[in-house]
Symmetry: C2
Subunit: 981 residues, 2 copies
């Protein structure tokens, strides 16, 4: 047996601790493995793997990961604690888009630490996702209410990328004709950097102006016919609130040019401040971090994005919409899918796929818990503290207060001290971080966590005088002239759950409607819904990881930096590459980053003409979308009917475009789940024609320790840490999409404006995310995953993932057609395989019927219609045990019988068409006598369901209705009342 | 407005942090309070309270609790962290019943930190408790399997009290004739102390003998006719495993005398060791702590208790049994309730009520997760480490190894060093604690957490030589001659859920069957199911509280000691008393302790003849049971039909017994929920006749800050911290039942053998729990509760609890009879009230029908048949909001309509008799055409249920069937297979 979890034997094996993780991570035990192997006709796992993975692909380079056999759970926790202790938690009033916040403990425990919330998938199957959908609808309603704009999405990756989406949207809105985008000077530096990295490939020029100045309109006038949009920050990065009349003039100007006004804003400020809608904003965007989401060294946090009505089909990202189910009951689902890249491919204007659902849900529930009154109090308190401090600085110091109207941020020009001196004193005497603007200017942003002691400290820091809080006579009120006058958040959901008990129940109520990994296997092909181990998740709860500002001084973040460095090294080892960037905060973001790196590399060699990106037709929609965003011309490459890449077509396309060939993007094993033996040929072909090879690592779970992109000869790959490396999917995010690159591409990896990262140099591309290390606070998850499995456990785990998949396929093959697999050709799948249901089309059964019917059996459907319409792609992962695999297979076999009924005209087959069956359908529908099948068949087609039944809470969704009648905010009290009549 | 949460105004109110707890703990907001007050005809809360609480009772002494207005949540966490940092976590190989263990993270997160598990109630309503019941049945099966005895209960409070129960059971088994109980010398010292405190009132003499000696049979011979039982520890306290042949002889001896052999044992050892059943044990008992339950400075941990078949009606505590539901499906419920004190009252032989369900569930799931093979590996590894160390000590040191056959514990007689020196060196050089046996003897017990480094350290400590683990040639195997040969834990449940994913799903599956506070109000009168706030629960997860051995050196436990001291002081303040003991680990245990204190006090005054305890007939069953255990003669006092104590009867009884009068036990407000105005008279009467007044504090939630036992003149009270002071009920425990006493009783508070507590003196009674501070690790919950509400918040909270109750009562009064409340007499209830359904008896509707039907409405039933048969007692607590109160009331009103149907012979009334309705009943039952009511009425009698339906997983339980066919372990594979045919 070549693969074992531990190579220890004898005494030392017996001395070893037994709280091992690897065997807990894996579903099957040793005897299950033997059973599955023998079902497949093998005795030995290594023999099996050799049959599955082509010889020229199976590398099995020994990984360098330490410890070799992995940490035990206890060792891992100890090690993480040690890393944590190297981060120093100080009070951070650094601001610039990141603020101290208090995650209400009831939300922390019941969302952030609840597997039911964090292990669920993006709610593409609405009938078993109404809980998350309701919560995301609340999120959209909050954004819409506070910005004043009617349409909001269910989160973006962060504020920087939200700003970049605004740029893109504006550019596209001008039909790509207007190539200038105006940005106010006083914008977060990291936002500017992300804007640049998105503008460069689009060939959009960013023009920075001082929008608050009187003379700006003259400047605007000179470029007006080229401007697609204007972006201003409100309150601004340095803390000012630009005059609203001025902003109205800016809006009028840009609207006269048919351009768009975008406003980066802060939702907490907007609880008090006149909303941007009032002065003509078309787009309002920003971060919801300070609504209860830990700083986490920069992320993940949910960006938000709201638009005016007429842009509703152009808004990027997912939108939850209100629709109806088959029975006419109100139900929620993701709306307007037709806008997205999986449909529009290289015509898509955004590549966003995984977003920040979990963080959006935390933010939304923060608002549900506090409600409008408490939120306003929080904002007023911050304003009051800021104002008292401002007064102290004005009255009692020689420093100059640069900010004249503020919400929470003051910029102070120092007299008699350098910024460095002041910051150092703040750290040493008061354990407080401020922000250095320039050598003699600092800024600070107060937040929800501010205390009387902070006020005393900060006053003393700036004025060298002690202030006694009890002597404060006045608590400054938010100025009436900039205060909003409308009522906010009046929907009942924001005015009901304010006791902890009520909040707990609301969260539990939402959660109970959703299928997550805590219920059953989620066999989504291409998504790798594996175990998100508890030990891996623990550090997310620790303040030493949670309460670190991304711009905190380096010496306060040594634990993070050590972890990041090790993770970069391990990922480079695993992918066979030389360098890693952890900055991209989703897979799609990784694609964009990788393509930007390739482009910059080619340009550095003077090969600016290379702009063709070959992409197989089977590719995931984000690939062409990312390529298009990177200003590549996408040329599709055909696939053969046996699933493999059409090499003839490839050769032809390469030949045709060889002078402009920039890159190919391929997924390996392919999106069809196949280990194509020709991969090295393909790579060589591209290289020999001057192109670079981008490997989409979404399927890395079939490679780790067995082969690697680097070993195969590719140049760059992205990884979905939220697939292969155990970050939970969070119901639609967060994700981390690092890229690993070969030596020659390392210099081009992204850097960061505010907090330059180690490898920064003049070749570095601009930032792709707001934060230097993207979604840093979830990196400990993947780090732990790797360190728990170790160099021995990782390839073993990969092998089990492949074994599980082939075992299921072998059993299902007796009952269903498996796409691209047959006894004459490719006999084995990789870690996933495709059930082909196309032969039933036109006979009254569609793939969606099977997907929906699986819900009645308690399962989340496999991936539907990707990569092939009319099919289901199944990926069990290594974490599912034999029992669960069999339970799923048995359910599919039972459904096969139902398909046959339906095709034969047996009325029992209608059970498929009416699936899923909610309890309400079973109990309240009046047509049971005439349905053609009975309630038992509907609800309990197999015995195990009587013991363990998950109820879809609505019947099948009516997508058309919802898209025609787009509603993406909570209904008002009146609407609810009317609806229930 | 006299009651406000905060007395701050103006600027300082605005500066205050907003993460306040008090207003989150309370359900109703200010406008709800006004609404409820005006429904009741009041405008002001203080005015209302004055009407509810008699003038002579309403004291409103200002509490001294600091901080006065309570900590905010952030401040509380900071403060708790600071206390935690004063505890020092060292490796503890102290043993003596407490061992290091690893709580599997998946269990920690999904049970210990899951409100769904910890907020549920004792599973008296089986239809909505099948999850916990299944888990407790697993627990019983584990105990039964490992001990070899067929009947096991669902946990006892700890090992000491389990031993005391064995003593009691043996004594009772001898019809109280045999007054000697033999205990081996080598038993845990704390067990001996608990045995003594239980033996003294029973007038049982504990005879300590050396049962391993050859000559012991001669000694036994001399007392044989007086011996009711023998208790031996196996493995013994000092680590030896007494020869099994010898134990068989002991068993033969005692059986010949018709006495019982009890064995205190260790379940982990029993995975390897021949089980006590093999040498004739009748009772096996111990602690399951080392099955994943944190040390927690001594508790809570689940004690276990197993007996031979013929003792099955005599086993103390709760037993889960297998039965059937109305439809004939297998279902679980608490069996043999007729044995318990709430039925047998002063004839009961045990007072145990609240036990350790949550900890039993952790232990059970630890076994589910590990399974028999891994458990044996854990045990073998411990044995191997212990043996290697033993060899090193023998071979390489001058010390003398006293233990000859061991499992995990070695006792070492030191040569050349004192025990103190060695222990100090262990702490200083190796951060390790051992146990001091005497001045020159130490012992150590290895455990699951032992590592190679520990072995190196300990070897060096004892031998002053370095050992290189890689040189160890042999890993000692557990000796065949004492090894058990049967297979253990063969039930599928222990052989299935070994991956983390499978375990997560199993826990989620169990949890989803149960109603907890995360679902809906649990309005159990006398149980105070209030919010268990997240902040309060946090410290349970921290190693600084979890990983402290109860016998750790004092300077490592300063955080605990500070917290304990403050909590004692605050509780004394709240109760108006002078001293507190936190040792009792349940309410009933508190009763026993308080009565023992009273008795000792009376005896110290020479009043040994005082042995009468007056107890109103309305008292909770534990009161007479505890009094009987304390060897008081219980004299019941009548109650009038209006619910108040029959003062004439009381006077008569006092007069009759005044010379023997020892005490009265009363509950205030009474178990009927009434603030009896005559309470001071009653107390004076008892005092003037030489008796002491024991106040049962189960209803303290109606007193805190408004009045107190001390202010009323009582002498002692117990508190249920798991009611009033926010410790979650845990599905049937843990609990804490401290007693507070007046000045004259302080000297009698219990001490501890091993770790004397501050107030120890020669008057102190023996221990009532194994651990010095009882269930120490959950004390931070109550501590936080008090500190979060502060002196201002506590009385306000009490007032809201009373308001909520009266509001519900006012609404329900229109539809139901309320016992003891009427417009001419007492108009208001305290914090709970009784719905009297007796008038429907004989007309086809019983109280239980209403209780079961409430499940169909998604509610846990109120307290059924206590304190009055045929009634339901409702206690909403302050944590429920107006919406939830109304939802419950509306459900009751809807049920009223169903009652009327039933009485009128309308067939729709049968919905009550068939309640609750499981989904299976709705879907699979064939009789729906003829039921007389439809599925909609069954499942969705009110609109809100369509949105939020909780499904009972079984139909109404058949109690008789289960008691007649007692099965209290998991069915074997064969039985399951047979059953499903
Ligand atoms: C093959 C492939 N590539 C790229 C992506 C995009 O990753 P992300 O959703 O993290 O942006 C996915 C996501 O499902 C994928 O399956
Ligand atoms: C009035 C009363 N006294 C005593 C007790 C016993 O408390 P415990 O269950 O903690 O032993 C109870 C428990 O319900 C009670 O209601
Ligand atoms: O378990 C109780 O009776 O509180």
């Amino acid at each position: 047996q070549t693969y074992t979890l531990s190579s220890l034997a004898g005494v030392s094996a017996k001395l070893k601790p037994l709280d091992t993780f690897a065997d807990r991570h894996l579903g099957p035990n040793a005897s299950d493995v033997q059973h599955m192997l023998s079902t497949l006709g093998f005795q030995d796992l290594q023999e099996f793997i050799k049959q599955v993975i082509p010889e020229q692909v199976l590398v099995q380079r020994k990984l360098k990961i330490q410890p070799e056999t992995g940490y035990t759970e206890t060792q891992m926790i100890d090690h993480l604690k040690e890393l944590a202790s190297k981060n120093k938690v100080l009070k951070s009033f650094i601001g610039r888009g990141y603020y101290g916040t208090i995650t209400p403990p009831v939300i922390k425990r019941n969302i952030l630490e609840s597997p039911e919330w964090y292990t669920s998938y993006t709610p593409y199957q609405p009938e078993i996702s109404q809980g998350r959908l309701e919560s995301l609808l609340n999120f959209q309603t909050i954004v819409s209410d506070l910005t004043g704009l009617p349409i909001a999405n269910a989160s973006l990756l962060d504020e920087g990328t939200a700003a970049a989406e605004a740029l893109s949207l504006s550019f596209n809105n001008s039909k790509k004709k207007r190539t200038k985008f105006v940005v106010d000077f006083d914008i977060h530096p990291q936002t500017l950097s992300v804007l640049k990295s998105r503008a460069i490939p689009l060939k959009v020029e960013i023009v920075q102006l001082d929008l608050k100045s009187e003379t700006v309109f003259e400047q605007l006038e000179t470029i007006k016919s080229d401007v697609s949009g204007i972006l201003v920050q409100y309150p601004s990065s340095s803390g000012s609130i630009i005059n609203q009349a001025q902003l109205q003039k800016v809006a009028d100007f840009i609207h006269a040019q048919k351009g768009l006004l975008s406003v980066a804003s802060d939702l907490l400020a907007l609880t008090l401040l006149t909303p941007p809608s009032q002065f003509g904003a078309d787009i309002v965007l920003g971060s919801t971090q300070r609504f209860g989401v830990p700083l986490g060294f920069g992320g993940p946090h949910a960006g938000f994005f709201a638009v005016i009505e007429k842009l509703n089909r152009k808004i990027p990202g997912r939108i939850v919409g209100v629709s109806k189910d088959r029975l006419g009951n109100r139900a929620l689902r993701l709306a307007l899918q037709t806008r997205e890249q999986h449909i529009k491919r290289d015509k898509a204007t955004s590549n966003i796929c995984t977003a920040q659902a979990l963080l959006a849900n935390i933010a939304a529930n923060y608002v549900v818990y506090h409600g409008p009154d408490r939120l306003k109090k929080i904002a007023e308190r911050i304003y009051g503290y800021t104002s008292i401090l401002a007064q102290q600085i004005k009255d009692n110091s020689a420093h100059e207060l640069e900010t004249t109207q503020w919400f929470d941020t003051l910029t102070v020009k120092l007299n008699g001290a350098t910024a460095d001196e002041l910051l150092q004193r703040a750290v040493e005497q008061y354990q407080t971080n401020l922000y250095k603007v320039d050598s003699h200017t600092v800024s600070l942003s107060l937040d929800e966590t501010v205390t009387e002691q902070d006020l005393v400290n900060l006053t003393e820091l700036f004025t060298a005088k002690a202030i006694s809080v009890s002597e404060i006579q006045n608590f400054p009120e938010f100025p009436a002239e900039i205060r909003r006058s409308d009522s906010i958040l009046s929907n009942p959901v924001f005015n009901t759950h304010h006791s902890e008990t009520a909040m707990l129940r609301y969260l539990h109520y939402l959660q109970s409607k959703d299928i997550s990994l805590a219920n059953s296997m989620i066999p989504l092909g291409s998504c790798t819904m594996k175990l998100n181990g508890t030990v891996e998740m623990l550090p997310l709860s620790w303040p030493e990881f949670g309460s670190i500002h991304p711009f905190a001084p380096k010496d306060q973040t040594l634990g993070y930096l050590e972890l990041i460095k090790n993770l970069e090294t391990d990922l480079a080892d695993i992918t066979g590459f030389a360098g890693t960037s952890l900055q991209p905060n989703s897979g799609a973001q990784g694609e964009f980053t990788g393509l930007r790196v390739i482009k910059s590399y080619l340009e550095s060699k003077g090969e600016t003409q290379r702009n063709i990106c070959l992409i197989p037709v089977s590719a995931h929609g984000t690939n062409p979308a990312s390529a298009a965003m990177s200003n590549f011309k996408v040329i599709p490459v055909k696939c053969l009917t046996n699933g493999s890449l059409d090499l003839d077509d490839l050769h032809a396309k390469v030949e045709q475009y060889k002078d402009q060939l920039a890159a190919i993007m391929i997924t390996y094993p392919s999106t069809y789940g196949l280990f194509e033996p020709t991969i090295r040929e393909v790579i060589d072909l591209i290289h020999s024609n001057g192109g670079q090879v981008y490997l989409d690592g979404a399927n890395m779970n079939a490679q780790v320790g067995l082969t690697s992109p680097g070993d195969l000869g590719a140049d760059v790959c992205h990884l979905n840490l939220h697939k292969t490396f155990a970050i939970p999917h969070g119901g639609g995010g967060p994700g981390v999409g690092p890229i690993c690159v070969a030596e020659h591409l390392v210099p081009f990896l992204p850097s960061h404006e505010v907090r330059p990262i180690a490898k920064h140099n003049e070749l570095s591309i601009d930032s792709v995310s707001s934060a230097p290390y993207g979604s840093a606070s979830i990196l400990p998850i993947s780090y732990s995953y790797i360190k728990l499995l170790g160099a021995t456990g990782l390839p073993f785990s990969t092998s089990i993932a492949i074994l599980n998949s082939n075992y299921m396929m072998a059993r299902l093959k007796e009952h269903f057609e498996i796409a691209f697999i047959n006894d004459d050709g490719v006999k084995f799948s990789g870690h996933e395989f495709i059930i082909d249901l196309r032969k039933y089309q036109g006979k009254g059964v569609e793939a969606i019927d099977v997907a929906k019917r699986l819900q009645d059996y308690g399962f989340h459907a496999p991936t539907l219609a990707f990569p092939v319409a009319g099919t289901l792609m199944i990926e069990p992962t290594e974490s599912e045990n034999l029992q669960e695999l069999d339970r799923f297979v048995d359910s599919m076999i039972s459904i096969k019988k139902e398909i046959e009924w339906q095709i034969a005209g047996d009325s029992r087959g209608l059970v498929l068409k009416n699936a899923p069956h909610s309890a309400e359908d079973i109990i309240l529908s009046k047509d049971w006598e005439t349905r053609g099948y009975d309630r038992e068949l509907a609800a309990y087609p197999l015995e195990f369901l009587r013991k363990n039944k998950f109820w879809p809470t609505v019947a099948r969704l009516n997508d058309t209705y919802g898209d025609l009648n787009l509603i993406c905010t909570c209904p008002s009290v009146e609407e609810v009342a009317a609806g229930s009549d």
